[in-house]
Symmetry: C2
Amino acid sequence: MQKQELLDCHARIEPYIHNTPVLSSGLINELIGASVFFKCENFQRGGAYKMRGATNAIVQLSSEERSKGVVTHSSGNFAQAVSLAAKSLGVMAHIVMPTSAPEVKKKGVQQYGGIIYECEPTLEARQAMADEIALRTGATFLHPSNQMNVIIGQGTAAIELMVEHSNLDAIFCPVGGGGLIAGTSLAVHYFGTGCTVFGGEPFEADDAYRSLQSGKIEGNETVNTIADGLRTTLGDINFPIIKEHVSAIIRVTEEEIVTAMRLVWERMKIVIEPSSAVTLAALIRNKEDFQGQKVGIIISGGNVDLSNLPF
Amino acid sequence: MQKQELLDCHARIEPYIHNTPVLSSGLINELIGASVFFKCENFQRGGAYKMRGATNAIVQLSSEERSKGVVTHSSGNFAQAVSLAAKSLGVMAHIVMPTSAPEVKKKGVQQYGGIIYECEPTLEARQAMADEIALRTGATFLHPSNQMNVIIGQGTAAIELMVEHSNLDAIFCPVGGGGLIAGTSLAVHYFGTGCTVFGGEPFEADDAYRSLQSGKIEGNETVNTIADGLRTTLGDINFPIIKEHVSAIIRVTEEEIVTAMRLVWERMKIVIEPSSAVTLAALIRNKEDFQGQKVGIIISGGNVDLSNLPF
């Protein structure tokens, strides 16, 4: 059923998303000793893979639900994605954003027509304000990562990658709230051939690594990472999927993230956000395990504040 | 004869270069009111279009000439291109670089195996040192922009762009030493259908604009521009071609260059160098003249020092 749902979802959202290009770099292949295929969701509409899940959730709403709008809380890419997907479908988007959210992401939401509600930068404050808006307006709540139709949507990036490169040995993706890696691991489970899934995570926000160790959802002890998209924690819907289908989470230092990010910018001439560099950093750190293999990397997004770069 | 030479050149260099992608952005199209097609030579081998001309020059050398190597002087992209093209063809590359050349470009030359000779940052010092090396080693001198086989090679980017989009109304490219715009305008002359060529140039290095005004080659009064690839002046081989086939040179301010550069990085998620942003800045400045048209832009390169960005 999930297998069919992934295919149905892809067909459903295809008119609203880009089938993003898969790029590679001779120099990076040489550096790692593997053939690396970058699925460039930084070129996705809204600048990140989040457009997939957001579209899948909104496109399935009834016309009555659509007329009441949608509401979400997000510090960044999901906020932009919901605004843009809602706009494409003629739906009003209420976006709760913490006061700490990067200016570039607030600007993105505004440009796509989302209505911003600012709140304190805690998960509790965000959820409370979103609940209040949902109650008042009747808007449907969309969770950035812990909702099955969103997770399935995010999995379609891996489907496209495997259609283009059917014989990948591994796929890497970043782990934040867990939506992308849960969707990716489902897609690989149903459509991969001998392919395993690895997550990349900063040491500074390693809740997923520790959750897989302990067998239950752990919070983050610190979120002092440049990878701002990965500061969130896993949820009860995506964690069981991750536990079942992900081979390992590889942790990386802040320095490794910046080095990998710079490598991609300098050599591939594409703009990726720090959260997207975490996966390449993880592959570089463990490159001995992937010699001669074909490895896919989901580049999750390219929404970065150019006024505040780490180099 | 030039028409056939362009086609022969493209066939000759094709095994050594990338047919780079042509990208577009809905938001930028909306902003300008035209359909803009970016020919992304930032994704070219060596990170710039210069690989085309360098390859065309080296691949035609006799085996005796190849055994003696090649020599050039360049502050940047042509130095990297000659090093890489020479390496691909098993030829030694002597590269004269001014002491003022960006570190990232020196590193590029070294990585591609070119031998660097540092000299004072004047055109005279560069030429004198290159002449001395040519005399001593028998290496063939390659000029970055004022040599017919190099000019023809640079024109192949426009050929590929017109193959992909056969009905362009205009093609914009930056003007530095004049090799790219001369090659582009020849390609458009022979293969365009109602297409005109415009050059983009900084006010701070507007030698080409003034040369077209006066009818003879003018020097630069200042080169105080962020577009480091455009500080050079036209030559006696390319100027007559430019005079005959280029419709106009549009000058832009430094602020317009940085704004256009940031727009491309933020919206298209690609890394382009300041010299490449000059063309988009020129199109934006004169957008009223291009409403509803199909416009090609040659993005010349993506070799930018990430430690020294203007935003």
